[in-house]
């Protein structure tokens, strides 16, 4: 009996530790969740945003958004962007991880410097890549011309078919270290003896990679891919600064579309409806992820 009382008491104390953060997050996260949900069923523009009573319009905003062309266009762009970024940053990150932990360990200390591309503010990164992709004087075009790959400068950021490549490359550059580090932390747990005995058994490099490295890194790979998907799918600032969704909506992701409706065209309700659709997709992926890691995470 005393033991039980002690336990109860200590659990009550636990609440006091969690409460401040929980209250804070409830105010700034749970409230926005509810607010956006309600907002997406009302008719709210710049005149009525701060008004106490707002007109209820049911699913009208969702219908408007879904009947337009921009939602589906932005959804397609978001998927193209996400899959493009993940394909590049995962494969390059994997390559670098294997390179600096297994193939040339001598370079491991300097490879740490690569992390800088991940931690520099996104705004600076966007401006830097905007400069490098500039049609005139941009180093990418100059380099390609010098190498003889092209004769005329490419209008990277002003041609709808090239702009997506530019933003994918910029985002890939900042995302590589994230992939690299998570895979490195899995790779260092694989003892090199495993590879040595595989070599003795006659396995070649590719066989070793697909039969040893990949299976042993399965959980790291899952984490990198799912988190990479979530964070790339909601990417916002980088594109906002580089292209603001242009030219001609060719890089308009769902996040940018939602921002445009809310803050440039002041249709806050439709902006909220788009944000909700974006969130539902992310939430589904997130649920899948927590199921995936669920067994060891929620202990």
């Amino acid at each position: 009996m005393p033991k039980r009382k002690q336990k109860l008491k200590s659990d009550t104390i636990g609440y006091w530790f969690v409460l401040p953060a929980l209250l804070f997050m409830s105010l700034f996260i749970v409230y926005p969740l509810i607010y956006n949900f309600v907002l997406s069923f009302q008719k709210v523009d710049v005149m009525t945003l701060m008004a106490p009573h707002k007109e209820w319009v049911g699913f009208q905003n969702y219908a408007n958004v879904m009947n337009g062309t921009y939602l589906w266009g932005s959804m397609k762009n978001t998927f193209v962007f996400t899959i493009g970024c993940i394909a590049f940053q995962f494969s390059i990150g994997f390559l670098l991880a294997v390179l600096y932990t297994q193939k040339c360990k001598a370079l491991k200390p300097i490879s740490g410097l690569l992390l800088i591309s991940y931690i520099i503010p996104g705004t600076v990164c966007s401006i830097l890549f905007k400069f490098m992709f500039a049609t005139n004087g941009g180093i990418v075009n100059e380099l390609f011309i010098q190498l003889g790959l092209i004769t005329q400068p490419i209008e990277w950021l002003t041609r709808p078919d090239m702009a997506m490549w530019s933003v994918i490359i910029a985002n890939t550059w900042t995302g590589i270290p994230f992939n690299m580090i998570l895979l490195v932390s899995g790779l260092v747990n694989i003892p090199l003896e495993v590879y040595e005995s595989a070599t003795i058994d006659g396995a070649n490099g590719a066989q070793q990679f697909f039969k040893i490295t990949v299976p042993l890194l399965k959980s790291s790979i899952q984490t990198v891919l799912v988190l990479g998907f979530v964070y790339t799918f909601k990417c916002f600032e980088l594109i906002y600064v580089m292209t603001t969704g242009g030219p001609v909506y060719s890089t308009e992701l769902m996040s940018i579309y939602s921002y445009r409706r809310s803050f440039m065209e002041f249709n806050f309700s439709e902006g909220a409806a788009i944000a909700n659709i974006l969130f539902i997709i992310l939430f589904a992926v997130g649920l899948f992820y927590t199921k995936l890691i669920g067994k060891d995470e929620v202990a």
Binding site: I13, F17, P20, Y35, L99, G137, A275
Partner: protein, 282 residues
């Protein structure tokens, strides 16, 4: 080729590949520094100068002295206020919460952890309108508090999910021993648990600061007065609105990145640790 020379060849080959990859990855940063030391006409030279022919600090001097357009020095002060406050609030709240979630049998614990996971998935646009309304109605719109609180909503879930694993890895017996020795839970938390989780707490310090420093959108949306803008919002506005010369934009960029690089050089180990925890935004 004998087995030995073959091995030697591959060793050299991989080092060459490693160096080339490193140089390609670092090139954008090199290019930013290099162009900040050029004049505008050198930037547009054909073929391009891969090294600045006459390195000079003119772009920095022009950009720093052009106070009417945007006072950079002052914006660094704003950035420091915003990121240090973000750091302080989120470290205190998340250290406590992660200890509570790791140590106690709280009802709805899984739900709370799930809430923090979900809040990491929220797109930034999602919170802009509701938080704008909150900040307006409680009267902190157009103050430093608005972007500080908004940044904390990013930093806190990361710190909690990351720190919880540190607290979970400390044996429960350590806590029990402190309680038997007459500590209460709060003393045991401060004197025993926090020092034992110090690596995690430093990671949380570093990342909370970096989240606060990197933000541009929250400050742009929640602060109307450009004299209170941080460096990031400033560089976005100056480069976007005035379309300044590239050499000056790159000089501005180098200045904005300098504090981050400094933190990286001092804290590399903790940044690696934070990234490897898998709770981070990418």
């Amino acid at each position: 080729m004998s087995a030995k020379t073959r091995k030697q060849f591959f060793k050299v080959f991989w080092i060459v590949v490693g160096v080339v990859c490193f140089l390609i990855m670092m090139f954008p940063l090199y290019w930013m520094i290099s162009c900040s030391l050029k004049t505008e006409s050198e930037i547009f030279a054909r073929p391009p100068y891969y090294f600045p022919p006459n390195p000079n600090l003119d772009a920095y001097i022009t950009q720093l002295s052009n106070v009417e357009q945007f006072p950079i020095i002052n914006s660094f002060k704003n950035s420091m206020i915003i990121s240090l406050a973000t750091m302080a609030i989120s470290v205190v709240l998340s250290t406590m919460a992660s200890y509570g979630l790791a140590r106690f049998n709280i009802k709805g614990k899984n739900l709370i952890i799930f809430l923090f996971l979900v809040s990491q998935m929220l797109p930034q646009v999602f919170t802009l309108v509701p938080d704008f309304i909150i900040f307006k109605s409680v009267g902190i719109y157009n103050t430093y508090w608005a972007p500080i609180f908004a940044n904390c909503t990013v930093a806190i879930p990361f710190s909690i999910l990351m720190l919880r694993t540190y607290f979970l890895s400390i044996p429960k017996e350590v806590d029990d021993a402190a309680l038997i020795d007459g500590c209460n839970h709060f003393q045991s938390f401060l004197k025993i648990m926090m020092p034992m989780a110090s690596t995690g707490i430093v990671v949380s310090f570093v990342f909370s600061f970096l989240f606060g420093y990197a933000d541009m959108m929250f400050s742009l949306t929640f602060i109307n007065d450009s004299r209170m803008w941080p460096v990031t919002t400033g560089i976005y506005n100056v480069v976007g609105r005035y379309g300044i010369e590239w050499s000056r934009a790159m000089a501005f960029g180098c200045l904005a990145v300098a504090p981050v690089v400094l933190i990286f050089l001092l804290m590399e180990r903790y940044i690696v640790e934070g990234l490897a925890s898998g709770a981070v935004k990418g």
